[in-house]
Amino acid sequence: MAEVIQNECCYRTNHLENSWDIETYLANGGYEIWKKILAGDLSPAEIIDEVKTSNIRGRGGAGFPTGLKWSFMNRHAPGSKYIVCNSDESEPGTFKDRDIMRFNPHQLVEGMMIAGYVIGACAGYNYIRGEFWEPYKRFTGAIDQAREAGLLGKDILGSGWDFDLFAHLGGGAYICGEETALLESIEGKKGQPRFKPPFPASFGLFGKPTTINNTETLASIPMILAKGGKWFADLGVKNAGGTKCYAVSGHINKPGAYEVRMGTPFADLLELSGGIWKKRKLKAVIPGGSSTAVMPAEAVEGMTMDYDSIAKAGSFLGAGSVMILDETTDMVKSLERLTWFYYDESCGQCTPCREGTGWMYRVVHRIRQGKGRPEDIQLLKEVSGKIMGKVICGLGDAAAIPVESFLKHYEHEFKHYIEHGCSIFDRV
């Protein structure tokens, strides 16, 4: 394996002592861009151009070009506007943003400030997953330090520009990672996705135009502007620039968060994270979080970690939450756990997801208990198909994709349970 270059953007200071402190950040070029903006040396249009040049795509999972998203907002429109950062990362296997907030919160703060400036926001909110107490403390600590340093608040550094940041700790619901449910939750309401349109860019937080970006996306912005969009674009591949943070988990020796360049071979990432544990073989990979399709080992051969390559191999980059499953994994049990997750986390608002997720779980659960029926496989395929595309938000689809992909690649394991009442690993 060639040397894999790591930690060039979001995790660049993670190795330093007290990396979350403003002193460390300032000593490493922190807030330089922000000061430049306040001095009037960098216009919103220039920033958007640079971000477009960087070819950065939204890191939350959908991969929407960030520069384009920002250009939807009219910064001169009257009334309040908001920038919201989505740090809810609650999808099983996802923990890449956690390390940004733990170790490099000031870069995120600066990124949010820059984004806020570009869209003309009066304030920004960072919605942090409810269980992330340490990241929450680090982020609010960073806000306080920035405010103390005069980088945040009223009339920042005499520029006449007012902007403030707030952190909102979630209540522990997966659905609040969906951007409109997230907005509802900040507003103090029950976390349920809104029907779109209207989109947040026209009717967002408190009914005002709002831009929502992922933590990693926003934390990348200061570096893009410091080193140039071209530098960032060149790190990646043709269709997606920059580095990408991955949360690697599962049956590996060194699970953790890794930042590598977009387009790094999957094999390199696997080696970086210590390889499969207990000298076992790879069975399957869920490359982008539990809502992306599972891929059998043979499908990931030669795959590189970027949108196009993973899509070609049959799945999705998602949020970069790579879950490694070794050869001893019982896919029926795995799916049972995943269907339970979606059943538990459905917000209950729209019919197919509320009713369908529970149905899928119950059928898989029954199969795993050895009480499956021959028609169950067809039933599961149909139920997941009936959820797909008929719901308000992505959760329904996210619940259906694992069921479809597990059955596509591992139907024989389900059949074994149905026919023999036990796993393929059990003695019949």
Binding site: C350, T351, K390
Partner: protein
């Protein structure tokens, strides 16, 4: 206008209209549960999924705005597959207990399932069970049947103005409920029964008493307030089983207040008087109609010899025809002591003329009023549907102010609220603020009220029942008319009862005789009472009963028997309720609404207009040969007998003693005790307890001088 194509049919539409509305207008059926034309769009049931050309997924018609040239298929393979998928999901956890469900036969889920559901379920797991909640006397819950359409939740948020029901929990554990156990008691809560597309929320009083297919529908007009809500009376055989709203956009839209919905229980009360009764030598006996009427006619002829000593009182909940005929009898006998103003206490202006109860705006116009000042009114309880219109105005940014003797719970923000014992002093300050806007001695709130009325395009002052019942009504009237004159606002003395306006129209007024106060305080020899219970319907009930006791002869046309009537009356004649007679009510804005008989009168009771017709003839009076109530109505319209003596306040000088502070608190009439029928509605009575325990504060009449 743009053109779109639905199932190959060209349909014209306005750009941005929702597809479901466009399809509805074109009579193209799209199944739906969560969508309701009067509520916000939730798009959560997904039943209305249709295929739109160019869209990769099926789209919900309720939340898809139409665009020019859009091509929609509601019955294509893709659309129907989507609809059937949703139907299957909706049914897996639904108990399918239709045979024991009150909604059966009028259930939206049942109807749609007939078309889109399968005959056999593939769901073989255990179904969800949800514990029922006790949410009071009006609505029964079977929450296992809930399909989470959230119509009831949105109703509370958007129409009722009180979020009585909400959704807690997520996924399959999502439940509709009150969160903390409590009764649902807002004055419009019963509408949630109609909104619920399944049998989760059903009417508690009606529960298990009939099946929809056994019921006959009769159009009616609600007699409990001056809105004149259009209702459908559902009867099984000759029994009124329930009342539901009829769509009437200009009046009650699609809603009904709880009072109008549940008061029907009163007409089935055991108290109903079902046979004529006369009292001779202190003993009551049941007689036939002929005997009773002959007896009454003889007595009336006798007392008509001294017509100034006979009083005729009627409830303003009587029909136009009844009031017209009764005054015709009275005036035929030379009796001019006529009154329906049972709640009023201050009659000092009668010699100058009569106050015309009238809402000078249509209900729809009320929504557009730029500024409104409520004076002495708990509008939410007096006229729930008018309050609903005013609420819409306020939510749309219009200004609503109030000057009241109590702090009331209102379901919207009162922009400028004044609560004080002395209405007169407060009103005077508004007058001052209008006369001297520059003055620094006037508190901001009065200036705000004054300027809201004078600067607004359309502004209105509404005097409610508390003003009407105030012992200083005349002075309130004077001051508010000053405010109206100075600000350009329209002054309305709100009609409260179903036929306040009708009573005025047929001149049921003491033009040349004594008003109710004079009748009760001067010794009358005889009283004729129509549909009223003196002890409760007249503000000073004690005084009224005293006067009745002292009278030599009292004839009551009454729906109900009661101990107290038996004590003071001499003849009790059973008459028909609003469901059992034909008639007309004239509502607050002057709309005359006639209705037909829905069921036969109970027992031996008879429609009052028929009784008056016979009685008129027995008294040898001219012109009582009607064969149909329509003829009476036609006569009312033909012979305008409305008083020529309307009060013109500008012409009268009323002195208001500024130094003398007058403290008085007017008793409020409980929302569910406004007339003899509502007082006997069992479920409302229970609900009313819950209401009075939480909201209503009543105080005795007292004058501090």
């Amino acid at each position: 206008m743009i053109k779109i194509e639905i199932n190959g049919q060209m349909v014209k539409a306005h750009e941005g209209d929702m597809l479901i509305d466009v399809a509805d207008d074109a009579h193209i059926a799209i199944p739906r549960f969560c969508y309701h034309k009067k509520l916000s769009i939730a798009a959560n049931c997904r039943m209305c999924l249709v295929e739109v050309e160019g869209a990769p997924k099926a789209l919900p018609a309720c939340a898809t705005p139409v665009t020019d040239g859009m091509k929609v298929q509601t019955k294509s393979v893709k659309a129907v597959a989507a609809q059937k998928s949703v139907m299957e999901f909706l049914l897996i956890n639904h108990p399918l207990d239709c045979p024991i469900c009150d909604q059966g036969g009028e259930c939206e889920l049942q109807d749609v399932a007939m078309q889109y559901g399968d005959d056999v379920s593939r769901f073989s797991e255990a179904k969800r069970v949800v514990a029922d909640k006790n949410i009071g006397a009006l609505i029964h819950t079977d929450m296992t049947r809930c399909i989470h359409c959230t119509r009831c939740v949105r109703f509370g948020q958007e129409i009722g103005g009180i979020m009585e029901l909400g959704a807690t929990g997520r996924s399959e554990w999502m439940e509709i409920g009150t969160y903390i156990e409590q009764s649902v008691i807002s004055e419009m809560s019963g509408n949630m029964i109609d909104l619920c597309p399944v049998g989760a929320l059903t009417s508690k009083p009606y529960r298990y008493s009939a099946r929809p297919w056994e019921l006959k529908s009769h159009h009616g007009i609600s007699p409990h307030d001056s809105i004149g809500s259009n209702i459908i009376i559902h009867a099984k055989g000759n029994d009124v089983k329930r009342v539901v709203p009829a769509d009437k956009e200009s009046i009650n839209e699609v809603w009904l207040s709880d009072r109008d919905r549940f008061a029907y229980e009163g007409i089935n009360s055991e108290d109903r008087l079902t046979a004529p009764m006369i009292k001779e030598n202190g003993k009551w006996r049941q007689v036939d109609w002929e005997t009773a009427l002959q007896f009454s006619a003889d007595k009336l002829k006798h007392y008509a010899a001294t017509p100034e000593m006979m009083g005729v009182l009627a409830s303003p909940t009587a029909t136009l025809e009844e009031l017209y005929l009764l005054q015709k009898i009275a005036r035929g006998l030379g009796v001019n002591n006529l009154d329906t103003r049972l709640r009023q206490q201050d009659f000092s202006l009668d010699s100058h003329g009569f106050v015309k109860p009238e809402l000078k705006h249509s209900f729809a116009e009320v929504e557009k009023l730029d500024a409104t000042l409520l004076v002495g009114s708990y509008l939410r309880h007096e006229l729930p549907m008018l309050n609903h219109r005013l609420r819409k105005a306020q939510l749309a940014g219009k200004i609503v102010s109030s000057i009241n003797t109590e702090k009331f719970e209102i379901n919207y923000e009162i922009n400028n609220e004044v609560v004080a014992d002395d209405l007169l002093a407060e009103l005077q300050l508004v007058v001052d603020a209008l006369e001297k806007p520059e003055s620094n001695n006037i508190d901001k709130v009065y200036k705000k009220i004054a300027s809201s009325l004078s600067t607004a395009g359309k502004s209105s002052i509404m005097l409610g029942q508390i003003s009407l019942m105030d012992v200083n009504f005349t002075k309130i009237l004077k001051l508010t008319s000053d405010i109206a004159r100075l600000s350009g606002a329209v002054l309305n003395v709100l009609p409260i009862s179903a036929n306040d306006v009708g009573a005025y129209m047929v001149n049921f007024l003491p033009e040349k005789g004594k008003n109710i106060q004079q009748m009760l305080t001067t010794q009358m020899k005889a009283f004729v009472n129509l549909s009223l219970e003196a002890e409760s319907d007249i503000t000073d009930g004690k005084l009224a009963i005293e006067a009745m006791r002292k009278a030599e002869f009292v004839l009551n046309f009454s729906l109900f028997d009661s101990e107290i009537q038996r004590e003071y009356a001499d003849v009790l004649l059973p008459i028909a309720s609003f469901a059992e007679t034909a008639g007309t009510f004239v509502n607050a804005m002057g709309t005359k609404q006639s209705f037909k008989m829905a069921v036969e009168p109970q027992g031996d009771s008879k429609a009052a207009w028929k009784v008056f017709r016979v009685l008129g003839n027995m008294l040898d009076l001219e012109g009582f040969d009607y064969t149909h109530s329509n003829q009476v109505f036609a006569e009312v319209l033909e012979n305008n007998i409305e008083t020529k003596n309307e009060l013109v306040l500008e012409k009268i000088d009323i002195k208001i003693d500024k130094k003398k502070s007058i403290k008085n608190k007017t008793p409020l009439i409980s929302i569910y005790e406004v007339d003899s029928i509502t007082r006997r509605a069992t479920a409302l009575k229970t609900a009313s307890k819950a209401v009075s325990e939480t909201i209503i504060v009543t105080a005795p009449v007292q004058e501090v001088g």
